[in-house]
Symmetry: C2
Subunit: 354 residues, 2 copies
Amino acid sequence: MMNLGGPASLNKVYDFLCRLFSDREIIKLPFQKLAGPLLARRRTGHVQEQYAAIGGGSPILKWTNAQGEAMCKRLDELSPGTAPHKHLVAFRYAEPLTADALSTLSSSGITCAVAFTQYPQYSCTTTGSSLNELYRRIVASSKHVQNVSWSLIDRWSGNELLAKAFAKLIEEELKQYPEDKRAQVVLVFSAHSIPHRVVDCGDPYPAEVANTVHCVMQQLGHANPYRLVWQSKVGPLPWLGPKTWDSLVGLAKHGNKDAILIPIAFTSDHIETLYELDQTYMKDANEKLGMNVRRCKALNTEPIFIEALAQIVHAHLKSGDLSSKQYPLRCPGCTNEDCQRARDFFLSSDGQHH
Amino acid sequence: MMNLGGPASLNKVYDFLCRLFSDREIIKLPFQKLAGPLLARRRTGHVQEQYAAIGGGSPILKWTNAQGEAMCKRLDELSPGTAPHKHLVAFRYAEPLTADALSTLSSSGITCAVAFTQYPQYSCTTTGSSLNELYRRIVASSKHVQNVSWSLIDRWSGNELLAKAFAKLIEEELKQYPEDKRAQVVLVFSAHSIPHRVVDCGDPYPAEVANTVHCVMQQLGHANPYRLVWQSKVGPLPWLGPKTWDSLVGLAKHGNKDAILIPIAFTSDHIETLYELDQTYMKDANEKLGMNVRRCKALNTEPIFIEALAQIVHAHLKSGDLSSKQYPLRCPGCTNEDCQRARDFFLSSDGQHH
């Protein structure tokens, strides 16, 4: 189960940021080996304050383990032929890292592994970076790890149960508004933004996030007006817009006071929901813009979502596919040769020992 | 049936461009009343050459009339209770203009009209501009036009028959490739781009185009890799990317030689398919990049598409809805007060006299 991860405690914030700013698949800095740690050092205090405000660390490992255990339990029922199923966590920027997951794999005698991205929508900056890292770590690993049979679940933005899970949680928030106002509540789907530079390379992320939004709206019978907006931009370069906060300001200006913020590109709570959405945008909208904004709960261990995870893996195992049909196609503007190498590895017999 | 329209002959090119560059809902120029005609004058020769290369004029009126007649014939069968049905064409920048359509309406004794956008995906620069123009022209019209009962079909990006029609035409092109290469053919969905300025206001267009792409891919069983890319950028400002031509160059560089260009945001042939896709991108890709690119046919009078048009209107008439649930919500960054006025008009009793 691959995800970005988050610092478990305040003294892990620097290590987390340092790994993040050193990843050239997500951010490109001049003299990155020096500039990455320097930038991490400069931002550590600020980010520590945010983690302090949500209880002193990221809950992402707790949620991923809870999701993984529930998913495997259900998978053992759905697919007894491939049981027992076991989940491992591989975070990109926090422990347990990809190398940690491979070392557990190595000592466990596992022979068949599915790299299952926990980002429903594929981006080169998230799933792409995690898969490239996995490829690099596997080829640097012990013979046993190299002999494991790998396959990929690299995207699932249009999964029906995922949409149903979001729809259920949105309906729970809608019920908190008076019945006569409910149909006018604006659904503000908020996803982590990415730089225009990445979009212009052909990153499929914006279109896949839009796909999830429309699948959710279909489940809801298109009963409310909605917009897809983008949060968490950092740095001076142009990123995909409109921004979540600017959108709330605009909605308020037009008289749309009731809105639900929906974190559509994450599957569990973390700093972007608990701090950025809850403690900045929602709080400020309600206090300063006179709005009545609520935040849709994160998927976490919502039963329909656990069923989605189990069904996705079950369908994947039954299909025998090595990856989605989209994964083999690199972004048209891609110049990162690890993207080609990772594809060659996972899609050829090198990665497969069935 | 609202659409942008196109010049019927070469001597209409200036008038067409002049209306286009004077529309502040699509382009904002300093001193627009002077600058619009000036810019139109400067570009007329260049654009005339393109229309000359596709036969001397735009076929959009011919196609829209053919679609409208076939749709109404089918609607008379589907919905005898609301028959007879009659289509009128209202182009934004070419004859018949919105005012022409209203004058036909006025003399015909029609009492119930549906403003049906022929852009499946809503953008403020297309459907938004057409509806605002319709609102302005209605309130400036005769008492009879003002008493017509209006309702809107303002978007239909996720319509299943629309997706089926595209899927059928794509499958026809796929069959032109050898069977053993067919599954690797890249589907390049190409839509007209819009400026970042418009996207950043919260224009729903990019997400709605992505919705159509994913509906089509679902119909095709996700059997091919694909990308959504953007064409027809003009001017010096940044627009939504990646560009269609750059994407073909990138695909070729990565060894993806077989690709199908799919005009996903237009419903009939016009300059952007017949000239831009066919005579520049496809031609250059095949001649200069050694690719084997084909262009998916435009929907034109494809029977599944005609059925889609008729079913959309039929469902709309049955629902009694004045518009989609999305239309009432202005873009968060919108500062165009005509957007509010048009909504107030179409969604209140002023526009409704049932």
